[in-house]
């Protein structure tokens, strides 16, 4: 009882505190202040392998800069709520690593500082990753490594069926059909009703010349029709509407699909399966000779407004994370592609399995470059259209027309 009573008193004072809501501190970018000796950092590399790889990077930079790094890791879906809570109670971490399409949302709150204030330049980076990290003409986030999607195939199954890894849509269609037998599907991909589904569809959408500003264009309809036909013809399971990318990899590893659309981060896991022989090729394109255009993935580092000394310290740590040796170390450990063109070329040469991914990054696009803060709404509309077409609820053209309306309103 007395514990409860004391708790109540505490809580009541909490409510009072909350009522006279704190005035925003809003310190200036804080050049000139001496860097703090320790900072807090927030990321979503929660799994054992990713967490250990990231911890090594942080340890390296902690010893290089002499700044202690207090790390916090949250499950992926909790990242944005956590950042918004931090923004509203002025308890943001000093250094933040978040998925690149959410960077502009966070920047829009006004809680981030431009990175040029810390001597971080974007020279030599892929243009698309710089765009992803920019908001209203200023760079707020830069990634040490990026990723993208490619077509990963089971060598044994393709050889047995006498199928070459497909390069074009026609070849993909034919190969998937031929590989579909004995309860196995030719292709697996993810089309769930969220950002993940959009991200998986964008390589088909963009490679065919469609634009996010007009979801119901002829190119867009053709891309959606192509994907829908793969499912309707039985070459891909109807379950793609419920599989996230992780499930897709599970299906591939279990031998239920001969090919899958998935990212480089899976390679470590595929390597663990001794009996599985896989190969990687770029995402097939509409016509031979065209360049695949995938969406750019990866987490960008940003420095929230937390006060001069901590901001300077966070800037120093971020600079270290973006230095070439760390970039290479991170890319190797987590199967990412370095975000600087020259570093990536060096990296690709030494990692044959990564070459297809490295090649694609050159033409990859940032999801938020054109739409900025409006992207999430458009992405949601596109994912809805994808689901409507794949479940047969609406034909592709109608589904996309509805999506264009929903995203425009």
């Amino acid at each position: 009882m007395s514990v409860a009573r004391r708790a109540l008193i505490l809580a009541a004072s909490a409510a009072l505190l909350a009522a006279c809501s704190p005035t925003p501190a809003a310190p200036p970018a804080g050049t000139g202040a001496a860097p703090a000796s320790s900072i807090t950092e927030l990321d979503y590399y929660a799994d054992e392998q990713g967490s250990a790889a990231w911890q090594k990077i942080l340890d390296t930079c902690a010893s290089q800069t002499g700044i202690k790094i207090q790390r916090q890791t949250v499950p992926t879906a909790q990242m944005l709520p956590k950042v918004l809570q931090g923004a509203s109670s002025k308890t943001l971490p000093d250094l933040l690593f978040t998925d690149n399409p959410t960077l502009q949302q966070v920047a829009a709150t006004g809680a981030l500082t431009p990175l040029d204030g810390y001597g971080i330049s974007t020279d030599g980076y892929y243009e698309s990753i710089v765009k992803a990290g920019s908001y209203q003409g200023k760079v707020y986030g830069v990634a040490p490594g990026v990723n993208g999607l490619a077509l990963i195939y089971n060598k044994d199954l393709l050889t047995a069926a006498g199928v070459e890894p497909p390069k074009t849509w026609d070849e993909l269609k034919a190969a998937s059909a031929k590989l579909t037998k004995d309860g196995k599907y030719g292709l697996a991909f993810s089309a769930i009703p969220s950002e993940e589904g959009t991200w998986q569809f964008l390589p088909f959408f963009w490679s065919n010349g469609a634009e996010l500003s007009q979801l119901d264009s002829a190119q867009s309809v053709k891309a959606l029709q192509f994907v829908t036909d793969l499912v309707n013809s039985g070459s891909a399971s109807k379950s793609v509407v419920t599989w996230n990318q992780n499930d897709v990899a599970d299906q591939f590893v279990a031998g239920n699909a001969a090919m899958m659309v998935n990212g480089s981060w899976n390679l470590a896991r595929l390597d663990e399966q001794k009996s599985l022989h896989y190969g990687v090729v770029p995402i097939p394109v509409p016509q031979a000779g065209a360049k695949p255009v995938v969406a750019l993935g990866g987490e960008v580092g940003a420095v929230p407004v937390t006060g001069g000394p901590t901001q300077q310290a966070a800037g120093k740590v971020l600079s270290c994370i973006l230095s070439e040796p760390t970039m290479l170390e991170w890319s190797k450990a987590h199967a990412y592609i370095p975000s600087k063109t020259a570093t990536a070329a060096k990296f690709g040469a030494g990692q044959p399995a990564m070459q297809a991914f490295v090649d694609e990054v050159g033409t990859a696009r940032s999801r938020t470059a054109e739409l900025g803060e409006k992207y999430p709404k458009v992405s949601q509309a596109l994912a809805d259209a994808l689901q409507a077409a794949l479940t047969g609820k609406q034909p592709a053209d109608q589904a996309l027309k509805a999506a264009q309306q929903a995203s425009g309103s």
Partner: protein, 312 residues
């Protein structure tokens, strides 16, 4: 549970203290709970109501400023084509879950309240589903529902039936999440109803048996009427818990396919954290609270009747 049978004889005393004394004591006993409610629910509730009348954006989180827009968020929500879908799904989900959770829970409670070897142990084992984190039970059900390799369809094929596209068809996805939610909800219904059954004095059943009542008649004329206060509370709590179910749907279908399992709760979350229309998300949340208010009023009316019975 409390087995104070209504039939317990009370000592024949009749002295009473003045009512005022009584009321003062009631306040004292209620004070901790009242304070807790005001502090822990008052602020979130008020914040949600205020937010629903504002154009609340991600920026508002940082600056604390959001322009007042009156009922614009509500009209935007009501005008959204997803609103009717979400309402219908919410009604179906809630009704489907409640009916079967309660029905199965009651049947099991009656069955396991009989004394037989291992009845107590088996009954407590049935609570185990509650101990699993939802990310785990959701994943298990997703595997079991898998159209091609799931164990449910394997069982259907085994008995000669067709495989069911549980999660990939717009028609089956809602039944599938309802099934999952029923499974999760049975233990709750079972335990509380079991407690209610235990409070019914055995002498009433014996009397009914002497009068020649069969098992069904005993249930109909003894169990059911005496269980009413407990069924009221189970159904009302069940309604409140079911209508706001969020994680189960998010883990199993994410609201898909093609919004087939989008309920008001998942939609509210989506409006807030995927569309960043926090005002509209809050508005949907308030609509839910309003719905609960209506049901709460209905419950109160029936509870008053029960109270009157108890006092009689």
């Amino acid at each position: 549970m409390t087995l104070v049978a209504p039939a317990v004889a009370a000592p024949p005393r009749a002295g009473r203290k003045p009512r005022r004394d009584n009321r003062f004591a009631a306040w004292l006993f209620l004070l901790p709970a009242l304070a807790y409610i005001v502090v822990f629910f008052g602020y979130p509730l008020a914040a949600n109501v205020v937010m629903s009348t504002q154009d609340y954006t991600v920026k508002s989180f940082y600056t604390g400023e959001a322009p007042f827009v009156g009922f614009a968020n509500y009209s935007a929500v009501f005008g959204n084509s997803l609103f009717s879908t979400a309402v219908l799904n919410t009604v179906l989900f809630t009704a489907g879950s409640l009916v079967f959770q309660f029905g199965i829970g009651l049947a099991l409670a009656v069955f396991f309240s009989g004394r037989f070897l291992g009845s107590a142990l088996l009954r407590s084992l049935l609570l185990l589903p509650w101990l699993l984190p939802l990310v785990v039970s959701g994943a298990i059900w997703r595997w079991m529902f898998d159209q091609d390799h799931g164990v449910l369809n394997a069982a259907l094929r085994f008995v000669g039936l067709d495989a069911v596209p549980w999660l990939s068809s717009t028609g089956w996805a809602l039944p599938a999440v309802i099934l999952t939610n029923i499974w999760i909800g049975i233990p709750f219904n079972l335990v509380i109803l079991h407690g209610g059954l235990r409070a019914i004095p055995a002498s009433l059943y014996e009397a009914a048996s002497l009068d020649g009542a069969g098992a069904w008649q005993r249930f109909r004329h003894v169990t059911w009427p005496l269980l009413r206060p407990v069924t009221g509370i189970v159904l009302m709590l069940g309604l409140v818990y079911t209508i706001k179910v969020f994680d189960v749907i998010m883990v199993v279908t994410g609201g898909g396919p093609a919004n087939a399992t989008q309920t008001l709760t998942t939609w509210s979350y989506r409006l807030s954290f995927q569309d960043f229309a926090f005002g509209q998300g809050a508005a949907v949340g308030n609509v839910l609270i309003l719905v609960a208010t209506v049901f709460g009023l209905l419950y109160l009316r029936s509870a008053k009747a029960t109270l009157a019975e108890a006092a009689a």
